[in-house]
Symmetry: C2
Subunit: 403 residues, 2 copies
């Protein structure tokens, strides 16, 4: 029920198809983040209109509210939120490290306090597997250990976190090892759920065809990355993610680690770069062999008035757009650009209207998804390098100062 | 370019068509309020999908930001906001009385301080006409004087307002007289704009076919209402509104005033009951001869989690809906009900997701617009009284305590 086929390659760039229990996904693909069961400010119909084939749900949020067991009783996440297409869930680990209070990591798992009500929770490789089994996403992620530095903490804060009670390991190597041990436990758990569901009646499996991806860690250390690939692939997953990047490291370092790591992963399985990135990052990491991406940037930036154009980012609230009757991007075919001017969007944004968030988000997501569509086509036609150089010639991630 | 035709009547209920420079509107009609150029939490595509033919814009807000002159330079409000269909604007008077600081009413007009930045502004019958000429709505309203009581102030606050500096009149009769004098000035102004636009070059007329409606005041005093009708119709407008109701008076009093006033208005022109109401109010006032309604209730209530159903209002955040897999209303054909459950909507609402506001607003508006469609059909088929009694048999405006 879950498979991946390579259709074409162009250099290290790959064009493929994910087959999931809820439909196919063309790769390389970008997955909008539907945090709590909706992409912020969008309806599913908006998502379909801008071309989203697969979305991501955050296990941490859904576990806390409304709860994975409630969602399982509703038939799983697809049924609960009314999204019949493919979905991926993360393990919950990232938000535990970035949102929750009082985190304590042990070999068993991570204890934390809910940011909603302070209640104590424990997340283990097994329970993260169970939660995602109840949610019934098409792709579930293993629980990995994020080192302090990997959620954007400075080394000073990392040491402070250790003093607070996080148990070692908290350095890259030991974290990589723990992630590998946790991955083995998650794999064992899902294999038991698949083989003998009656033995775990407390876990309602709403999507028996769910796939499980392992996560390669190792920070910015190529040797650790190599070791992590080895440790993860020897367990054997349905796909592999590269985690622990886009957490504050310089962009060229990130590109180098992806270039190092992606080719080490099995060619016949999908490769997912978590939490990345800006449009130029997508191009550069496709060039290095990545198949799947997720990121909050297009949606979060939209809500903050940062609009993507062919040449880069514009800040819609700038006074220069007050009477700009052109669309956000002159070449964009999205619903927002077909109908609305920068002036109107600026007005709505400055006025604090929710409609601004919807229209800007739809545009930014369309930009990402349209870029992925162009990338897919270019790989098939052997013109990916041409797209890549043309893209860098025109797009700059630095905010535009003038039109 | 603006006209009204009666198609059918059923008792005092009327079925008609407004013809405007931007298209037709079937009446009786309900106009969603697009305050600052968008209906809160909806895109225009959402509006079209739920069946909105005409929306209302608030002149006060648009005058302050982004400004009617900027909008005129963009070609008018239709062009600026990308809504090609009919639009009505109010005069700005209501928000001046309800939102602005430091209001001072004189015979000339009303001085106020912007709620945005405290800047001093003056709104007169002439300037309200000019502003709406720049906005270019299809129907403009005259500036009327709202008595303190008419914006929901208690008599005590009204006296306090008078001490603050509002100049008399502030009692119903004198306010009605002033409204009549202001109406005559507004009519004279629009006639000059129509006849001799070059003589007022500072006013860009973006919609030469714009109609102007007069407003009948008189509070809850039938004699004053009769006098106001006389004073307003003798000036002669393209349509007539009944203002100053749904401001806190008992519902049956409102119905009685409408029953008294509507038949006094010219039969061949549209009758617009401003700021009303709940679904049962729409039915009752159609029964009394009203053609047009606007109200923030369906949209505001949606954002507050109050959902309309055939039997009445439900508060979606109630725990009883946490696992309710039924749609908001089992008989509703709106996009929200076709796809989503009460449980999911409750989850999104409790989680504070903007998507909740969109989905709930779309549903509540569809409920209103679908009710109007059913009313129109019933009038044509002579079954309006049947619809009316059936409606009251099933719908109760009191919040539902159980399913």
């Amino acid at each position: 029920m879950f498979s991946f086929s390579l259709i074409a390659t162009d250099g290290a760039a790959r064009r493929g198809v994910l087959t999931t229990p809820h439909g196919d996904v063309q790769t390389p693909c970008f997955m909008p983040v539907g945090t709590r069961g909706a992409v912020k400010a969008l309806t599913h119909r908006d998502l379909e209109e801008v071309g989203a084939e697969i979305i991501l749900g955050n296990t941490y949020h859904l576990h806390l509210r409304p709860g994975d067991e409630l969602i399982a009783r509703a038939g799983g996440l697809h049924a609960f939120i009314g999204w019949p297409r493919p979905m991926l869930t993360d393990s919950g680990g990232y938000q535990v490290f970035s949102l929750a209070g009082m985190r304590r990591v042990t070999e068993d798992g991570v204890e934390f306090r809910s940011h909603l009500d302070g209640a104590r929770h424990v997340l283990t490789p097994e329970s993260a597997t169970d939660i995602q089994a109840r949610l019934g996403s098409d792709i579930a992620m293993v629980l990995d250990e994020l080192v302090g530095a990997e959620v954007g903490q400075s080394p000073f804060r990392e040491r402070a976190a250790r003093r607070k009670g996080d148990c070692p390991p908290s350095d890259g190597g030991l974290a990589m090892e723990r992630t590998a041990r946790w991955a083995a436990r998650a794999r064992a758990r899902i294999q038991r759920l698949r083989a003998d569901p009656q033995s775990v009646p407390e876990v309602t499996i709403t999507n028996p065809g769910q796939a499980q991806f392992g996560i390669v860690q190792g920070g910015t250390n190529p040797s650790l990355r190599t070791a992590s690939v080895q440790r993860t692939t020897e367990i054997g997953f349905d796909g592999y993610a590269i985690g622990g990047l886009s957490v504050g490291e310089p962009v060229d370092v990130m590109y180098d680690i992806v270039a190092h790591t992606a080719p080490l992963l099995p060619e016949s399985q999908p490769r997912y770069l978590m939490g990345t990135g800006m449009p130029d990052d997508l191009v550069e990491c496709v060039a290095r062999g990545v198949d799947m991406f997720d990121c909050v940037l297009p949606t979060r930036n939209a809500r903050n008035g940062q609009l993507l154009t062919r040449t880069g980012v514009i800040a819609i609230k700038n006074a220069q757009y007050a009477e700009d009757r052109t669309p956000p991007d002159a070449e964009c075919g999205c619903p927002t650009c077909r109908r609305f001017s920068r002036a109107y969007l600026r007005h709505l944004y400055v006025a604090g209207e929710m409609t601004a968030a919807t229209l800007l988000t739809a545009h930014n997501l369309y930009f990402y998804l349209d870029l992925m569509a162009k990338i897919r086509e270019a790989i098939v036609f052997g013109t990916f390098e041409k797209l890549r150089s043309e893209f860098h010639r025109t797009f700059s991630r630095r905010p535009q100062q003038s039109r």
